[in-house]
């Protein structure tokens, strides 16, 4: 394999595996910046994957090439609705954020499989016919060296995700909405005093995380898994959560961390095709993202730098 071919393979598989993590981690970053810890990203991804696959199977024949994109969007909408549970519990009902998030993770897989069984009478779905597949940018793909590496047979959702990350970074740090959202995560009392609707902002944070997490699940299902079963989403949501922290609760950071995790994940899958990596036992590549997350947390962050009121209930007094 030529050097360019190796790089192209690495880049494209990194992007494929990063895309769902980027979407979901961006959602996580928004939720946590608004002050609601969202450990339920895994469950949100699962329900998003479920919705996207069902939509894809139902509509692929009529919608053709647009199906996976619309499927991911449907996944996002269903994820948003699902995340309402977490929002109501944590914002209105004083629930512990970690327990409430755990409920999402406990609820999503059985709910998805139950519905699949009720609809299709079997435990997992057929494989979808319209998946994301590979995408080549017209024009850009013809640039020598860079073209084949970055723009030929690459993952379109990943490029969209990177774009979304930049936009969401801008929204969070450069707009009034972003400032208010962050204020609710840092000091809800002060924000409230200044007339910010803390509950509303926190709803926004959680629902955005539901929407983006659902898209992430949809993208994973339609680009990588190809069907829905109880084991479609196994840990990607937790990985996205780690990316949020690894990325210091910043959308761009979360995106870069997701790219890194995507790289590590893809290495463990395509490693045997690559020189050097094929000598490393697969287990090291599999556990690398998790070990690195721990090491980074320990040595580079010390005490947590999460938004100050992240995970704390805000109870508005009369």
């Amino acid at each position: 394999m030529s050097f360019v071919a190796i790089l192209a393979l690495l880049v494209s598989s990194t992007l494929v595996y990063s895309a769902p993590l980027i979407f979901t981690a961006l959602g996580g970053a928004y939720s946590e910046n608004s002050g609601v810890t969202n450990i339920g990203l895994e469950g949100i991804m699962t329900i998003g994957a479920f919705a996207a696959i069902v939509f894809n199977l139902t509509c692929a024949s009529t919608l053709g090439k647009a199906t996976p994109w619309l499927g991911a969007l449907i996944g996002g909408i269903v994820g948003l609705i699902f995340s309402l549970l977490h929002a109501v519990a944590t914002i209105n009902f004083h629930a512990d954020h970690i327990i409430s998030g755990t409920v999402l993770n406990l609820m999503a897989p059985p709910l998805g499989v139950f519905l699949i069984k009720a609809m299709y009478d079997k435990g997992q779905t057929e494989n979808i016919t319209q998946s994301f597949g590979y995408f080549s940018f017209p024009g850009l793909a013809d640039i020598p060296i860079i073209g084949p590496i970055l723009f030929k047979s690459t993952s379109a959702p990943a490029w969209v995700a990177i774009l979304v990350a930049i936009v969401l970074w801008w929204v969070l740090y450069k707009t009034r909405f972003g400032l208010r959202l962050r204020a609710c995560g840092e000091n809800p009392q002060a924000a409230d005093t200044l007339g910010v609707n803390v509950y509303g902002m926190r709803y926004a944070g959680v629902l955005i995380s539901g929407f983006l997490g659902g898209i992430g699940g949809g993208v994973f299902a339609e680009a990588i898994a190809g069907n829905f079963s109880v084991s479609t989403i196994v840990g990607q949501g937790f990985m996205a959560l780690a990316a949020v922290i690894f990325g210091k609760w910043n959308p761009i950071g979360a995106m870069l961390a997701s790219l890194f995790f995507g790289f590590a994940q893809s290495i463990s899958i395509i490693g045997n095709q690559l020189p050097f990596f094929n000598h490393i036992p697969a287990v090291y590549m599999q556990i690398a993202p998790y070990v690195i997350t721990i090491i980074v947390l320990v040595f580079f962050f010390g005490k947590s730098v999460a938004p100050a009121a992240d995970g704390e209930n805000y109870i508005k007094s009369k």
């Binding site: 519990a89 709910l111 947590s304």
Partner: protein, 373 residues
């Protein structure tokens, strides 16, 4: 609104959560045209209707008691040990491996050795998270989640690449362990209709008593609870927060590891490659939350969950209703536990002891009446 004492209220909240959870399950079944009455009655008859069912239900509860106790200890110290699946898995593989590698040791040596080693394996996994928390302040929620995956893949690797092929049937399953290292008791299984009930349940009952005694009667337990309640105050009172953080995580992981041990030496008699986090870890977490972290609560909650799970299998075969409804009910119950503040609004404390209580009650009341409008 009911007038109840604080103690009754503590009991009523989980009971209402359970009923509400069953209702959620019923509504979902109705929407999809399954009959909830058939479902729940077939569930209870298959879990409790015959000796085999009862034996299996007790067997199913055994590991949950351990993992729930593990969760409860960490949570008394203020930690959310979400790494129970990994800790249990480490305990399971370790104990099976030790028994397989030493089949000729006498039972009095081999069985305790395997059990203790399994508990230690779980303790080490949790201890890493405890140490990092104590030393560097690293969030135990993240580290234990990460450790779950590290353990999952490491166990796959150990099983497939490291373990001697003499101990395995194939790359994914070990041989069955010798009677020397087994928790199986033939007369007990016979008594319960040839079910897989085993000596693990006695160990679990001992564990619950130890847990109760440790937390309620010993200084160690007091210090753990004090650190959980207020780390700054307990440090001021001369307690070592670091020591207590690590100790509580070691104990927590040790019990979770034992949950894996009874799964291996008791239920399955072997180890097989896992592709996802162990259920007993997640269920143990739910059991502890439902049981309110108390010894008796954990016992009752673990039995309820086992009835749901064993009965759910029967429900699937007898009534043809997907098994997943059971997990949905469990998740719903935990959801209602999480929002117990809202459930609590249905009751009023009988005697207000201080002005503060009255005040918060009237606040709760005003919110409740607002909600009714």
């Amino acid at each position: 609104m009911l007038k109840v004492t604080a103690k009754t209220r503590k009991i009523l909240v989980p009971i209402i959560s359970i009923i509400a959870g069953f209702l959620v399950g019923a509504v979902i079944m109705l929407i999809w045209n399954y009959n909830p009455l058939t479902a729940y009655s077939s569930m209870f008859t298959s879990a409790l209707g015959n000796l085999n069912g009862i034996g299996e239900t007790i067997r199913e509860a055994t590991p949950l008691i351990f993992t729930a106790v593990g969760f409860a200890i960490a949570s008394s110290a203020g930690f959310f040990n979400i790494g129970l699946p990994g800790q249990a898995q480490a305990g399971w593989l370790t104990s099976i491996w030790i028994v397989l590698a030493n089949p000729h040791l006498p039972k009095v040596v081999l069985l305790p050795l395997a059990v203790i080693a399994g508990g230690l394996a779980g303790a080490i996994v949790a201890g890493i998270a405890g140490y990092l928390r104590a030393q560097f302040g690293t969030s135990e929620v993240i580290t234990t989640i990460m450790l779950n995956y590290i353990v999952l893949y490491t166990c796959q690797h150990l099983m497939q690449q490291v373990m001697s092929s003499k101990l395995r049937l194939d790359t994914d399953t070990t041989k069955t362990i010798a009677a020397n290292g087994s928790l199986k008791i033939n007369w007990l299984s016979k008594l319960f209709g040839d079910s897989r009930i085993n000596a693990g349940i006695f160990l679990a009952l001992i564990a619950v008593v130890i847990f109760w005694y440790l937390m309620k009667k010993t200084t160690t337990g007091f210090e753990i609870r004090a650190v959980g309640a207020n780390p700054f105050a307990s440090r001021y009172a001369g307690m070592s927060t670091k020591k207590n953080i690590i100790l509580s995580m070691l104990l927590s992981g040790g019990f979770a590891g034992l949950g894996g041990v009874v799964q291996g030496l008791g239920t399955y008699q072997n180890y097989f490659t896992q592709t996802a986090s162990l259920d007993i870890g997640w269920d143990g977490l739910s059991v502890a939350l439902l049981g309110g972290g108390t010894a008796i609560g954990i016992l009752l909650a673990s039995l309820l969950f086992s009835i749901l799970k064993i009965g759910g299998l029967g429900m699937q075969t007898i009534a043809g209703i997907p098994y997943e409804i059971v997990s949905i009910v469990i998740a719903a119950i935990i959801f209602f536990i999480a929002i117990q503040y809202v459930i609590g609004l249905m009751f009023k404390n009988k005697q207000a002891k201080s002005p503060l209580v009255t005040q918060s009650n009237s606040a709760a009341q005003s919110i409740a009446t607002k909600g009714e409008e």
